[in-house]
């Protein structure tokens, strides 16, 4: 069973819990104070109290670690970092997503072993400036990412036996054949680079490349039926 654990009692933690409801049936909020526990219980959440000095090995018995995702969303940066490093010290492969308020705490969270950092301030800043300077882009991206509209984004890891291996991405007629747009090709060893740089454009596709594709729901469904391993 897929489970999610969210540490902290604040608006961010609550919003994350609300958003995950559709994807996760087992969501637990871990709070530091008894008062917070009671408040959250009243709101219908599954709540546990914790202490930063707790021994986290109990997670092994309570959760299926391979299907567990942990969000560190404590208010205090120092506590959040301590919690992250405690979890990572106990579980090497646990998926930890941490919220950071500034660049400094973001760096420290990364060093503490978080798999993914969601920078709160930077995200807000990006949303505001994008809304001001590129309102159409904002609307389109928000529709693709958040709203339940016709357009969807998906990622697809190329299997070994697929016909596209060895072809250049631009030589495949994505528009007329599938009705899709390939936004990027991400290759493991290229780290952060994604396509539509000259180099990646001219390189033939390989097994393991990840294609990020945008398309209408029904086009994506058609594509999924034709090829395996597509995730939405």
């Amino acid at each position: 069973m897929k489970s999610a654990v969210i540490f902290g009692y604040n608006e961010f933690a609550l919003e994350i819990a609300q958003s995950l409801k559709t994807k996760y049936s087992d969501i637990t909020l871990f709070v530091l104070e008894d008062s917070d526990r009671n408040l959250l219980k009243d709101k219908g959440f599954k709540v546990s109290k914790f202490d930063l000095s707790d021994d986290w090995s109990m997670f092994e018995t309570d959760y299926d670690l391979e299907h567990l995702i942990v969000f560190c969303a404590l208010q205090e940066s120092s506590e959040n970092i301590f919690l992250t490093i405690s979890l990572r010290a106990t579980f090497e492969k646990l998926l930890i997503i941490a919220l950071s308020t500034d660049q400094e705490s973001g760096r420290k969270l990364k060093m503490a072993g978080a798999n993914k950092i969601i920078p709160i301030t930077q995200t807000t800043v990006n949303i505001i400036t994008e809304m001001l300077e590129r309102p159409f882009v904002t609307e389109i991206l928000n529709n693709i990412l958040y709203a339940d509209k016709d357009l969807k984004i998906m990622q697809w890891e190329l299997p070994a036996d697929v016909e596209f291996i060895g072809s250049n991405i631009e030589d495949i007629d994505w528009k007329y054949r599938f009705g899709l747009v390939v936004l990027a090709v991400i290759r493991e060893n290229l780290d952060t680079s994604f396509i539509y740089t000259k180099k990646a454009n001219s390189e033939p596709l390989r097994e393991g490349d990840i294609l990020v594709i945008i398309g209408f729901k029904y086009d994506i469904a058609n594509f999924e039926s034709m090829y395996k391993g597509v995730t939405e």
């Binding site: 819990a17 958003s19 990006n126 505001i128 400036t129 958040y146």
Partner: protein
């Protein structure tokens, strides 16, 4: 007589209600007095040129003969221009028609005859206030050379130099800075005067009868005292007696003290006023700006947004109550003011015109209370300006909407959605985040289709995206207000459409140029 009175008051009422008359008066006011009026600087420059021309001719005239045309220009043309300026300044100083009408209405209310003389006297009193002001006296003296037949009056040309106070802002600023220390300067002048008077008399008494001394008159003694006190010490007149030398020592020491005090006074006056001067300068700069983002609150989010907007080439003004944060903003090279964004006075003091200057108001304080307060203030001044506010607590959303915010940013909600989307497809999500933050030089850009572009490219097939390594995500159609995703090549372009392009920043810039040229 009654007939003339009626005719006069009728004319006055007509003038006071005449849009044309008021318009002309407003134009004259703008040219002569309104520093915010963009064409005033040309008039100021012209007057400065006339002043220097006039003084140059005066100097030239001392040892050479001047062409009669130049003399005519100096004596008549320049003087007449100055006279016209003087009369216009007198006219715009107040509203004589309003004063007369006020007197007429007062008399009518009290059921008595309209007292024309009294009304004219009030007009005179009001104008007199202007006439006796220093700047007006200088203006008047500068016109006097017009009566050039009176040779002595020619020297009044030099008074034209003083008119520079009116036209040169730095001289005005210097004057206003020094006038702030008026009391200290008067005290110092009094002290210096007493020393000069006492020492001149003492030296005169001690040296006047000495045959070896050059101090024979009280004027000699006075001259010696001034030269010594100012620490200039020409040495043409010196004391010879022992007693005289003792006085000289006292005068020299007092002189040094006076000089040191004067210097420190000027420096401290400037130090105290420098912030004020800078703020006045900044306010003047605001008037020239258009398409401003007004950021209210310079805490972390405010600062980051301001920096990002600035890096995109946008104009930003910062308002924050906290002087420390404003100092930081100034250090970050922003126009910033330590004013409360929730007060009407702030916008009046800064002379911000929401209708013509402001693109968006961003309420980025970290409390909903402050953001709601600012929103209400701005909305009370402008019904149409776009207000974007961050929301800290979900329960205050409705209050922000009621206050008149156009768009609300609730970060917590976005973070929740990000978390959800990230779980499903982390790679895709990282990609979109990278595109949004433009960290890799790759960005999603909007390109507006204009008439010039349409001249060369009628549909998408004529746009060579691939050549520039760009990806066409879609078109936002201006007519249908719909986003056409992945449009086919025959899609017809219209003016006002927005192309949504993904690619390298450099290529996008090149692509924009290509769109405005024939393929």
């Amino acid at each position: 007589m009654e007939f003339f009175k009626r005719l006069f008051i009728g004319t006055i009422f007509a003038l006071n209600g005449s849009d044309k008359y008021l318009h002309v008066k407003r134009i004259v006011y703008n040219f002569l007095e309104n520093d915010q009026f963009r064409f005033k600087k040309y008039i100021d420059f012209m007057m400065i040129v006339l002043i220097f021309t006039s003084v140059f001719i005066l100097i030239k005239e001392v040892k050479s003969t001047i062409d009669p045309e130049i003399k005519f220009f100096n004596d008549y043309i320049i003087s007449i221009i100055f006279m016209i300026e003087y009369v216009l300044r007198l006219w715009i100083y107040d509203s004589s028609t309003a004063i007369i009408i006020a007197q007429y209405e007062k008399d009518t209310t009290l059921s008595r005859k309209f007292r024309l003389r009294r009304a004219l006297f009030k007009v005179f009193l009001s104008k007199w206030k202007h006439i006796r002001s220093i700047s007006s006296i200088i203006d008047l003296l500068a016109i006097i050379p017009f009566f050039h037949e009176l040779r002595l009056l020619r020297i009044f040309i030099l008074f034209r130099i003083f008119k520079l106070f009116r036209y040169t802002r730095s001289i005005k600023t210097f004057g206003s800075v020094l006038s702030a220390k008026r009391f200290e300067f008067i005290t110092l002048v009094m002290f210096a005067s007493i020393i000069v008077v006492v020492s001149s008399v003492l030296v005169y008494v001690m040296e006047a009868n000495n045959p070896h001394s050059k101090i024979n008159t009280l004027f000699d003694a006075f001259y010696w005292a001034i030269v010594t006190m100012s620490t200039v010490g020409y040495g043409d007149v010196v004391t010879v007696s022992e007693e005289g030398k003792v006085v000289a020592i006292i005068v020299i020491m007092s002189g040094v003290a006076v000089m040191a005090f004067t210097t420190s006074l000027v420096v401290s006056a400037f130090t105290e006023k420098i912030e004020e001067i800078k703020e006045i300068k900044s306010i003047e700069d605001i008037a020239k700006l258009k398409g401003i983002y007004l950021i209210c609150g310079y805490k972390e989010i405010g600062r980051q947004v301001a920096l990002k907007l600035k890096s995109n080439g946008s104009k930003v003004i910062i308002l924050d109550k906290d002087a420390k944060l404003v100092k930081e903003a100034i250090k970050d090279e922003f126009l910033a003011f330590a004013h409360d964004s929730g007060l009407l006075n702030t916008y009046e003091d800064l002379r911000i015109d929401f209708a013509t200057q402001v693109r968006s108001v961003l309420c980025l304080d970290d409390t909903d209370v402050e953001n709601i307060y600012t929103t209400l203030t701005v909305r009370s001044m402008s019904k149409h300006v776009e207000i974007i506010s961050i929301l800290e607590s979900k329960q205050n959303r409705k209050k922000l909407e009621m206050a008149g915010v156009s768009k609300i940013i609730f970060s917590q909600e976005f973070i929740g959605l990000i978390a959800k989307e990230y779980i499903g497809q982390p790679v895709a999500f990282d990609l979109i985040h990278a595109l949004r933050s433009e960290t890799n030089g790759i960005q999603i850009s909007e390109i507006l289709v204009d008439d010039v572009m349409l001249r060369y490219h009628g549909d998408l097939s004529e746009i060579e995206c691939r050549k520039y390594k760009l990806l066409m995500l879609g078109i936002y159609k201006s007519t249908s207000k719909r986003f056409l995703f992945n449009p086919i090549n025959s899609t017809h372009l219209e003016s006002g459409d927005m192309l949504i392009i993904v690619g390298d920043y450099v290529f996008i810039e090149e692509f924009k140029k290509h769109l405005h040229k024939k393929s």
